[in-house]
């Protein structure tokens, strides 16, 4: 979105409150009708997608100046994009893009990111991960018996969270690829944070540094395909990187890869997994992972006040997010009973961790996770699964906080349980995870 588009768009909010709900036609119960974790938590209109558009307008009009109150409100948003999906059913506004641009503007003026976010940005600059962990420990997740092919053209980009905090996801992913005899390599000490945690705070310049580091190394290594088990890394490479620089490699999430491997029978699932499972769509794998399409059309002024785009400008409504692959996987696991929650796919409810919220506003992140856990509990499921280590982390924290009996597994862990000849089960793998 360029500056002119931004200035025009912020004048067009109708204050209809659609951004607070899941798409009206998808509402199935009163309890699970809302989409915006921010206003669900804080209640004042300013915390909604529409409310932040009004803040953007008020700033442009000089009615407001950047202040702690303002920054607080702008950053108490997971940038989940739910508001945008609901708004864009009929409208052409881009609430999420406005919020993203607003953060960039605030950062450029010296306001933001939030202090905790600045800390992890420093950590990324110094240690290539947001966890203040030594870069040298990035590979500690890797068990000795995992087969790595240093000449493979496929790279498994592990990501910071799986490398340092959710090692079981990295282990399960690697074991599945081994079980499928799918050769892959890793970047070892040359893997750096994808930059997503930085980008979401509005610090675009620091993000671009990470972007260049990563693309340089991947291209230098002659990688043709990059596979991600983290939805955040996946989305960043797929959607955000191409906006700044061309990426000459293919990008897949592991759920896509594993689904394909099952289809061509390179993977076989024979172990029964008699569990009732529900699936949480990560925002970064679902609605936000839809790439931007170039539009080479014309704006036609049909009559005064009425202009249209011919052909119609593509509207990112989450249609091309990854929803089917994870569901295919779950449906193919023998004995597994898969139940959907009410808020799914492009109108999935955020886990609460994204947009820098987990660091800056941990209570908000937890409350949102608890909301999602309750929705999972209401399905009768024993397990909530997802395809993002950051979602898993926050959902796990939410389960603990709530005292719920639910368990969280990444989809790769469940898949590993069902594979014929894994060298180790997840439980055994878990013992390797300290």
């Amino acid at each position: 979105m360029n500056e002119e588009e931004y200035r025009q768009m912020i004048k067009r909010c109708l204050r209809c409150s659609i951004c607070k709900w899941i798409p009206q036609l998808q509402i199935k119960s009163q309890k699970y009708a809302t989409i915006c974790p921010s206003i669900d938590m804080f209640n004042f209109h300013a915390y909604s997608g529409g409310g932040r558009i009004i803040i953007a307008l008020a700033l442009e009009m000089g009615r407001l100046k950047p202040s702690q109150e303002l920054i607080d409100i702008i950053y108490k948003c997971t940038e989940c994009g739910g508001c945008a999906i609901s708004c864009k059913f009929l409208n052409t506004l881009e609430p999420l893009e406005i919020i993203v641009k607003l953060r960039e503007k605030l950062v450029s003026l010296g306001y933001g990111p939030m202090p905790k976010q600045q800390q992890y940005i420093e950590s990324i600059k110094n240690y290539n991960n947001p966890y203040n962990e030594p870069h040298e420990k990035r590979l500690e997740w890797l068990p000795n018996d995992i087969k790595i092919d240093p000449n493979a053209k496929v790279l498994y980009f592990v990501g910071c969270t799986s490398s340092y905090r959710r090692r079981e996801i990295a282990i399960a992913t690697a074991r599945i690829m081994n079980a499928a005899n799918y050769p892959f390599r890793i970047l070892s000490e040359n893997e750096y944070c994808c930059g997503s945690p930085i980008l979401r705070t509005g610090d675009k310049n620091s993000f671009i540094n990470q972007l260049n580091k990563n693309i340089d190394i991947i291209e230098k290594e002659g990688i043709e395909t990059v596979v991600f088990s983290c939805a955040g890394c996946y989305d960043t490479f797929k959607v955000d990187y191409p906006l700044e620089r061309d990426c000459n490699f293919k990008i897949f999430h592991t759920t896509e890869l594993f689904s394909e491997l099952l289809d061509i029978e390179q993977l076989n699932l024979t172990k029964e997994i008699p569990l009732t499972v529900t699936y949480h769509d990560p925002c970064h794998l679902g609605r936000n992972s839809e790439p931007y399409e170039e539009w080479d059309g014309d704006a036609l002024q049909m009559m005064p006040l009425v202009s249209l785009n011919m052909p119609e400008k593509p509207k990112r409504c989450g249609k091309y997010g990854i929803y089917d692959s994870p569901r295919d996987l779950l449906n193919k696991i023998p004995g597994l009973n898969f139940i959907e929650m009410e808020r799914i796919k492009e109108y999935s409810y955020c886990c609460g961790a994204g947009g820098g919220v987990k660091s800056a506003f941990p209570e908000f992140a937890l409350e949102t996770a608890k909301n999602r856990i309750e929705e999972a509990e209401d399905t009768g499921a024993e397990i909530i699964t997802s395809a993002c280590p950051f979602c898993s982390t926050n959902l796990k924290d939410g389960i603990t906080e709530k005292g719920s009996n639910l368990k969280v597994y990444d989809i790769s862990e469940i898949l590993l349980m069902a594979i014929t000849s894994p060298p180790k089960t997840v439980r055994e793998s878990s013992r390797e995870v300290t």
Binding site: G297, D298, L300, Q301, M302, M303, P304, L308, M310, P311
Partner: protein
């Protein structure tokens, strides 16, 4: 879908709109039957936009091409090879397309040169085509 031209040239602007309006005709068997012997080229120029639409009717099928409408020479008969030419602004076009401007209204606009017409007999083909759009599929 309306057939794209043989060289798969991208159509632009106003032509895309005309294409989307006329597209259903290629699914209309009655139209294909009635127009199977018609072979004509009509230039429809939106004076307030940047591209004109060239509507080609050939053996019962319609296709639309586009051409920049500046410089004016682009639209000359000897350059495009049209059999009929119609030029107006888009607001007038919509009024005619939605039957909100009578023939008398069109004549008035023609007199004050807001509407330009050449090859009126062939232009009637365009009128007939639009009529098919509002007739019911059997």
């Amino acid at each position: 879908m309306v057939e794209s031209n043989q060289e798969n040239k991208k159509i632009r602007g106003f032509a895309v709109l005309i294409n989307s309006i006329l597209a259903p005709l290629n699914e209309n068997k009655r139209f294909q039957d009635k127009f199977r012997n018609v072979n004509t080229k009509i230039l429809l120029n939106a004076s307030n936009l940047n591209h004109a639409a060239i509507i080609i009717v050939d053996k019962g099928l319609v296709r639309v091409e586009s051409i920049p409408n500046k410089p004016k020479e682009n639209l000359k008969k000897n350059k495009v090879g049209w059999n009929a030419f119609l030029e107006m602004d888009t607001q007038t076009f919509l009024a005619i397309a939605m039957n909100r401007l009578s023939l008398f209204g069109v004549a008035k606009k023609w007199l004050i040169r807001k509407v330009k017409i050449h090859g009126i007999r062939k232009l009637l083909i365009l009128l007939k085509m639009f009529r098919f759009l509002t007739s019911y599929n059997e």
